[in-house]
Amino acid sequence: MSHFERFGVSPDTMIHAAGVRKSFGSLEVLKGVDVTVTKGRVACIIGPSGSGKSTFLRCINHLEEINKGLILVDGDFVGYRLQHNRLFQLPAAAICQRRAEIGMVFQHFNLFPNMTVLENLIEAPVRVRREPIVQARERAIGLLERVGLAEKKNVYPRHLSGGQQQRVAIARALAMNPKVLLFDEPTSALDPELVGEVLEVMKDLARAGMTMVVVTHEIGFAREVADQLIFMDDGVVVERGTPGQMIANPASRRTREFLGRVL
């Protein structure tokens, strides 16, 4: 079900977050976050440690339940069914189906160590989407070629470098044909010389029209790829805009200070 009209959201919006609040116990981590990401566009989120960037990403795919506000992914709720102004919590199986359309790439890759690279890629398509193994393998090999790792298909993750593992993780997320990809600091755990190969893959995806939300400390990458740069601090979006304008000419003092520290 699409609720674009009801909430006054343009149908080419992939992610629409409005007034999102989230607390852990008495600690309020998100204090009313509004973010809109258009289909086919790339949004980069920057901000100091503890500002709630990861928490916000995890709210988008309903790994965390929000306390207030609304998040629509392609016009629908991930964890609820809307009926007569009431949000009914969905059962786990239904949430999983919706979540499968939202890919996520983690700082620490989180590949399945008990499976080879190829098995990592076909696990979800075969088990979740019931895709025939032969077809899933064919697609997986295609994806591995796309991230430049076709020859590593029968290797276990622990024999790969960090950069290679992260490229496999991206391919694994792509194997589910997601509508949108979320990245949580995908290069922060990598040795500096391995960062480039992962960013290259991400730039490729951006050029191919994938909708992406990227939490990153790579300002250079954001400047080059992002359509929208979002600066978060202390649980709120302090400033947003095109990267060129924001980096050259930050409107807020907090943004200026943060950029001064990372650039």
């Binding site: 795919n61 790994l63 080879t116």
Partner: protein, 322 residues
């Protein structure tokens, strides 16, 4: 330039005469291993003690070795071996299932599940196996009948407790419950050893909790679960000898029932020990295979002959890699 078999390429283009000479000098060095005189002395002493022991065991007529040989393959003894194996296998299977269920309850975020599970583990690990065994055996003292009664409808079925609780079922129930308590702790430790990132990654791929438990968490937890489970199996194998007290015909009971007639106590205990040792040894070998199977991603990328053999022996899941 070529000096005594060392080629210029071996040393690099920068090689000077001095480098070649130092290389030659280095090649002439040999390492003299450190001697361990105390270790050799200890070996001699241990060997002497073992020899003395073996000599006395072999020559002491009280051991009655001929009688040991006579009873080793006695049909009653072999039936006892079979019963011991049967009990071990059934109880281990039941307690693996029970232990996993209790472990999942233990780690559940719902107190309604975790508190009963904690009580279960506390109770069944805290009371001796022998006490529980006798308790279940005497269940009929507590409940004369086992019945299912629905108010307003009447009794659906009713049976005499003594018809259900035979010595065998009492043994299976008592030891399975006890063992489930231990297995729950083992499985829980295994589940905890799998990082949270794995669960999260699987969830993000749209896997349901039950699927990700089965495909992602449990297989990784196995590596931590298998070694202590092997030890538990071996322990259980020996613990089953307790069932001889409630007249289940296991290995020890068979031996006892023979020496009760013939008074050849020592040889029959030796026969029982021989079989226990034999089964335990075979179990240990199986445990080794299982351990290697579940840590195969830690082995070389290209499978050795041994690991290929294992893949055939233990092909629990469909291989999908080409």
């Amino acid at each position: 330039m070529e000096t005594a078999g060392i080629k210029r390429e071996d040393i690099g283009l920068e090689s000077s005469k001095a480098m070649v000479e130092s290389r030659l000098a280095a090649d002439m060095l040999t390492v003299v291993p450190l001697r361990h005189p105390w270790r050799s002395a200890a070996v001699v002493i241990v060997l002497a003690l073992v020899a003395l022991l073996l000599y006395s065991v072999a020559t002491n007529p009280e051991f009655q070795w001929p009688a040991v040989g006579h009873y080793l393959f006695n049909p009653l003894i072999l039936a006892g071996v079979g019963m011991t194996l049967l009990l071990t296998v059934i109880i281990m299977i039941l307690s693996c299932i029970g232990g996993t269920v209790v472990a999942l309850m233990l780690i559940s975020s719902s107190r309604l599940l975790s508190i009963p599970a904690k009580l279960f583990v506390w109770f069944f690990r805290g009371t001796p196996a022998l006490v529980q065994l006798i308790f279940w055996y005497n269940l009929a003292l507590l409940f004369k009948h086992i019945a299912l009664y629905i108010p307003g409808y009447g009794t659906i079925f009713s049976i005499d407790t003594n018809d259900v609780i035979t010595p065998f079922t009492a043994a299976v129930i008592a030891l399975s419950l006890q063992e489930s308590g231990y297995m729950a702790e083992i499985v829980r430790n295994g589940l905890k050893s799998v990082g949270h990132g794995q669960t999260e990654a699987a969830l993000c791929l749209g896997m349901k909790p039950s699927l990700l438990m089965r495909r992602i968490v449990l297989p990784q937890a196995m590596r931590v679960i298998i070694p202590p489970t092997g030890n538990e199996t071996i322990n259980l194998l020996k613990t089953t000898s307790l069932v001889s007290t409630i007249a289940v015909g296991d290995l020890l009971y068979s031996a006892q029932s023979i020496y009760a007639r013939t008074f050849e106590t020592i040889p029959l205990l030796l026969v029982a020990s021989f079989w226990y040792l034999a089964i335990v040894s075979i179990t240990s070998i199986g445990q080794g295979y299982l351990e290697r199977h579940f840590s195969r991603d830690e082995m070389a990328t290209t499978g050795s002959a041994l690991s290929t053999l294992q893949a055939h022996l233990f092909s629990f899941r469909k291989r999908v890699a080409s």
